[in-house]
Amino acid sequence: MAYKDEKLNEEKVFKDPVHRYVHVRDRVIWDLIGTPEFQRLRRVKQLGTSYTTFHGAEHSRFNHSLGVYEIVRRIINNFENRPNWNEDERLLCLAAALLHDLGHGPFSHSFEKVFKLDHEDFTRKIILGDTGVNAILRRVDDNFPHKVAEVINKTYENKLVVSLISSQIDADRMDYLQRDAYFTGVSYGHFDMERILRVMRPMEDQVVVKESGMHAVEDYIMSRYQMYWQVYFHPVTRSAEVILTKILHRAKELYENQYSFYLEPYHFTSFFAGEVDLQDYLKLDENVVMYYFQIWKDEIDPVLSDLCKRFVDRHLFKYVEFNPNQQMSEWMELHKLFQKAGIDPDYYLVVDSSSDLPYDFYRPGEEGERLPIHLLRPNGELKELSRQSDIVESISGKKRTDHKLYFPKDLIEGLSNRSKTKKRILEILYG
């Protein structure tokens, strides 16, 4: 029997708090889960710094990847024998679902910003490079790794396959909304996924939803909207992210200035030098990063040491609302006042915008901008969701942006009470 068709003697199941069970029958999928590159995802948190706000949010990209695989498995079970669905693409969908986040590094959002990296690029490199994952995919056929990489990169010819994993109603989002809700403990993020899966239909280029399932989809869109504001855009989480980003900037700057670290940062040097190869990338997981942060708490450099203490011990920056339209001159004044007070504004005065975060809302958008969710009417006609649903339309047009100014309140309060600088800083920040 060809490797691609091999089944395990007995179905394996992973107990899962969101989907109850994740079922694995294909030998290829089982072997992929066992690779070091996939196991590494256990050491990369799904929600980055959110655990500083929601203490339960310690779940990993490993959990999420299995969840996405399971949802895709259920969707394509329902697609069997339906028009537009090609059963030959089953294994491709399952493998791409399982591996879609393979290239995420530790705290990947901050790392990507500071070191100009792209996790999708690393996903591709892991799939196509000299890795355990590649060896398994090649056993299916020589071109299979390439196909899996294309599905994940969204450049695969059959857009139906791509849309299962990446569209405005895909397995990725359906898993992370429910999983993140479960682990953060919030009461949002719940929707009737079983109903959505039952009414999904394969079309030539996309997955659509039968019109009768519109209310389940409305619930999904509402969950998404609430989760963004309540969890993903949470200002305390963003404070931790701001500090993390500044730690990486500081460590890089010190390295570039030949600073002598107490412990040579071997795992970071290729990142600092901008020459990260695949092996370096795979070695740096969140456990390693946290080890360095722990060590850097005792560094001689006061900025690096202070920022690491803040991050590790959760002594975060405070924040106020900030309107760049009305407060630009105040910001410039603050910048000077911080310098005068001996608090480096490049590290301790940060404006963070919602567009700096890697999450998106449902947008019907403009024609040709981004594919919206389509409802399938009984007569075969397709209608964009917000045209049919008042609920979705009402949240599609809302303002969804905000800016916050982050700073170390404790350092400002530590300035002498007689200091005019302190008085003025507090006046600007708190009115």
Partner: protein
């Protein structure tokens, strides 16, 4: 602070108006590929390179009053127009030292072209790691429904050559 916003405001200050979000997405992507330091992250979507970060940042600029957005309802969708406001011009005065090459010629050239053509150019640029033949084959595969002609592909190559040289 807000350097990425300022770069976009600089772009709008060099256009009279941008008609269409799709056009805006493709213009920024093409400029980015031409070496302008826009940092919005792009992914390949159904209609070619698309940046959610750009969408949200433009929304922020509108909410801040730096950009004016108008939209008109077409039969099955909305069409958006963007132009810089006085507030946007004032914001830009804080970034006069920001190094940024002039974009007006590229903007003018892109505005002469249709959105369909910009979609083709940006998709070809997305596959710029492939050889020309491979790139054309890929573009035809992922853009089957657009039915791009040989002539359009040739024009797109000429456009890209002018852009990058």
């Amino acid at each position: 602070m807000l350097n990425n916003h300022a770069k976009l405001v600089r772009f709008f200050s060099q256009c009279e108006e941008v008609v269409g979000r799709k056009r805006l997405q493709k213009m920024i992507y093409i400029l980015k590929k031409a070496g302008y330091p826009f940092e919005e992250r792009y992914e390949f979507h159904f209609y070619g390179p698309y940046s959610e970060e750009l969408t949200l940042r433009v929304e922020e600029l509108c909410n801040l009053g730096f950009l004016n957005e108008t939209h008109e309802k077409k039969s099955n969708y909305h069409q958006y127009r963007y132009s810089l406001t006085e507030g946007g011009e004032e914001f830009l005065t804080h970034y006069e030292d920001m190094p940024f090459k002039d974009m007006t010629e590229h903007i003018h050239n892109m505005n002469e072209e249709s959105s369909r053509f910009l979609e083709l150019v940006s998709t070809m640029l997305y596959f710029d790691q492939l050889s020309r033949d491979e790139c054309e084959e890929k573009v035809r595969a992922v853009k089957k429904k657009m039915n791009y002609t040989d002539d359009e592909l040739q024009q797109a190559w000429s456009f890209i050559d002018r852009l990058l040289n």
